[in-house]
C-alpha cells in the first residue's frame, strides 16, 4: 500500500499539487486520471522521489519514504518498477540487456541465472525470441512490453505506469492494459497507472483518482465514475461522443 499524505508541490509561482492525499491499494490497479497539465506526472514523480515534495509525505507500507536518506531510499527503489511513457529503454542495449540491466546492477545472480530470469520476464510479456533486437528495431507496442519486462525483472512490490498506452493503437493498448492487470493480480503488486484514457479505466481500473488543477477532486471505482455527479469529472469522463453513447445506454 502507498499512502500520499498532504502533498504539495510548487514550481516557481505555479502551485502544481495542492494538499494531495490518497491511498493506492495492494493487489489493485490504481488510476490517476485527469487532463493534460493537471499534475499527474508531477504527482507520480513526487511519489517515486524523482521530485522532492514541498509539504506532506509519502508512505510505502508504513515506511516514510519522504524522510529517508539516499541510501535508505535506494532499498525502497529496488522494490519499485516503472514503465515510462516513451518506454525509456536504453537504446544502446539490446532487449535482453535492457531487461537484465537491473539484475546486473543489483543482484548477485550468475550470468545464467540472470538469463533465465530475463527469458522468464520476456515470456511473461509474450516477447520470447526478441532477445537480440535493439529498441529501435521493434514496434512501440513491443517496446512497451520490454519496458514492462524490465520493470518486473526485480520482482517489484510497486509498479508505476505513466500513460502506458499513449501512442498505441486501440488493440495493442488493450493488450498492454490487460498485461498490467494480470501482473498486478499475479504478484499482488501495488500498481499505479497514470492515464487520461477512459478505455483503460473501464478496462482495468480498480480504484480511480481524478486529479483536477493539482487536487484529488474525486476518488472511487469504475462503477461510481460512470454515475458521478461531479461536474469536472463528468466533463472529463464524457468528453468523447463514444462515452456519451455509453452514458445513454447505461441510463
Amino acid at each position: 500500500m502507498i499512502a500520499v499524505e498532504g502533498v504539495s508541490k510548487t514550481f516557481g509561482t505555479q502551485k502544481v499539487l495542492r494538499n494531495v492525499s490518497t491511498v493506492f491499494e495492494t493487489g489493485k490497479v490504481n488510476f490517476i486520471i485527469g487532463r493534460s497539465g493537471s499534475g499527474k506526472s508531477v504527482l507520480t514523480k513526487c511519489i517515486v522521489g524523482l521530485l522532492e515534495v514541498d509539504e506532506g509525505r509519502i508512505m510505502f507500507n508504513d515506511r516514510n519514504f519522504t524522510a529517508m536518506n539516499v541510501n535508505e531510499r535506494k532499498a525502497v527503489r529496488q522494490e519499485i518498477g516503472m514503465l515510462f511513457q516513451g518506454s525509456a529503454l536504453f537504446d544502446s542495449l539490446t532487449v535482453e540487456e535492457n531487461v537484465m540491466f537491473p539484475l546486473t546492477m543489483f543482484s548477485d545472480m550468475s550470468k545464467s541465472e540472470m538469463l533465465d530470469r530475463v527469458n522468464w520476464c520476456l515470456k511473461r510479456v509474450q516477447l520470447d525470441g526478441a532477445n537480440k533486437k535493439f529498441p529501435a528495431e521493434i514496434s512501440g507496442g513491443m517496446q512497451k512490453r520490454v519496458g514492462i519486462a524490465r520493470a518486473i525483472a526485480m520482482n517489484p512490490k510497486y509498479l508505476f505506469c505513466d500513460e502506458p498506452n499513449s501512442g498505441l493503437d486501440p488493440q495493442t493498448a488493450i493488450v498492454i492494459d490487460n498485461l498490467i492487470k494480470e501482473i498486478t493480480y499475479e504478484f499482488n503488486m501495488t500498481t499505479v497507472v497514470v492515464s487520461h484514457d477512459m478505455n483503460s479505466v473501464i478496462e482495468i481500473g480498480d480504484r480511480i483518482n481524478f486529479v483536477f488543477e493539482g487536487e484529488i477532486w474525486w476518488s472511487g471505482d469504475k462503477v461510481d465514475i460512470l454515475k458521478t455527479t461531479n461536474d469536472e469529472l463528468n466533463n472529463f469522463v464524457y468528453a468523447s461522443d463514444f462515452m456519451r453513447i455509453v452514458r445513454e445506454k447505461l441510463q
Binding site: V48, R77, Q78, G86, F101, M105, F106
Partner: protein, 252 residues
C-alpha cells in the same frame, strides 16, 4: 535583464557543482564501471586517433614551411625552423588546439548522448532503479578521457614534429641534421609535462561541461541540439580562459 543573466551564471555554477558532487561517488559495481570506462576510452580516444593524426601532420608541415618562409634572412640559423615546430606543437597546438577540436567532436557527442537520454526519460529510469545516474553516465567518460587524452596529445606532438622533418627535407628548406639540432635545442622536458597537465585540465572541462549541458536538457530534439552547441561553445571558451590562466601561472 543584466540581473537575471548574472543569476543564470550562479544557477549554472550551483547546478554544475551539485552534479559533480554526484559524479564523484563510488560506482555501484566496479566491474561495470571498468567495462564502461574501456568503452569510453575507445569512443573518446581510439576513434579520434585519425582526426588528431591528420591535423597534427598537416600543422607540423605547415609550421615548418611558414617558419622557413619567414626567417629567410641569412642571420637567423636555419635550425630555428625545427625549434619553432617543436615549441609550437608542444606548447600550444597539441595541448590546446587539439582539445578545442576534441570539444567539437567529443563534447557535442557527450552532450547529445546524455541529452537524448534525459528527454527520453532514460535518466529517470536509472534514477528510479536506485542508480546514481550522474555517476553511472559521467564518471566512466571522465576517467576514460583523463586517461586517453595525454596519449593523444603526445601522439600529436610526435606526428607534428615528424611531419615538419619530412616536409622540410622534401621542400628543401631544412636538412635532417639541422632539423634535429633544432628540435633538441634547449629542450626542457618540463614543458612536455606542463602541456600534459594542461591537456588533462582541458579533458576535464570538455567532459564535465558537455555532460552538464546534456544532463540538464529539457524539452525535445531541438533542445538536445542546443545543448550540444552550448557544450561545444562553453567548453572552448573555458579552455581558452584556463589556457591563459595556466600559462600565466606556470610560465611566468
Amino acid at each position: 535583464m543584466v540581473f537575471s543573466h548574472r543569476m543564470q551564471i550562479f544557477t549554472n555554477i550551483g547546478r554544475y557543482t551539485l552534479l559533480m558532487a554526484n559524479v564523484f561517488r563510488r560506482p555501484e559495481k566496479w566491474r561495470i564501471f571498468y567495462r564502461l570506462t574501456v568503452l569510453e576510452i575507445d569512443k573518446i580516444g581510439v576513434q579520434s586517433v585519425g582526426i588528431v593524426a591528420l591535423l597534427s601532420l598537416f600543422m607540423g608541415a605547415v609550421i615548418c614551411i611558414q617558419t622557413a618562409a619567414n626567417i629567410d634572412s641569412g642571420w637567423i640559423p636555419v635550425y630555428t625552423i625545427g625549434f619553432t615546430v617543436r615549441q609550437t606543437m608542444i606548447l600550444e597546438f597539441s595541448p590546446t588546439i587539439i582539445p578545442v577540436i576534441m570539444a567539437g567532436k567529443v563534447g557535442s557527442n557527450i552532450a547529445s548522448e546524455i541529452g537524448t537520454m534525459r528527454i527520453s526519460e532514460q535518466i529517470d529510469a536509472l534514477d528510479i532503479m536506485g542508480i546514481n545516474s550522474a555517476n553511472y553516465l559521467i564518471l566512466p567518460k571522465l576517467v576514460g578521457a583523463l586517461f586517453i587524452f595525454p596519449f593523444l596529445i603526445v601522439m600529436s606532438m610526435v606526428l607534428g614534429i615528424t611531419a615538419g622533418a619530412w616536409v622540410g627535407e622534401l621542400a628543401g628548406v631544412i636538412s635532417m641534421p639541422d632539423y634535429q639540432t633544432g628540435i633538441t635545442y634547449d629542450f626542457r622536458p618540463f614543458q612536455v609535462a606542463y602541456s600534459l597537465i594542461k591537456t588533462t585540465v582541458f579533458a576535464f572541462i570538455i567532459v564535465t561541461i558537455s555532460a552538464y549541458y546534456g544532463y540538464y536538457t529539457k524539452g525535445g530534439a531541438l533542445e538536445v541540439g542546443k545543448a550540444s552547441t552550448q557544450a561545444v561553445v562553453y567548453s572552448i571558451v573555458l579552455i581558452m580562459i584556463c589556457n591563459l590562466l595556466i600559462s600565466q601561472l606556470v610560465l611566468t
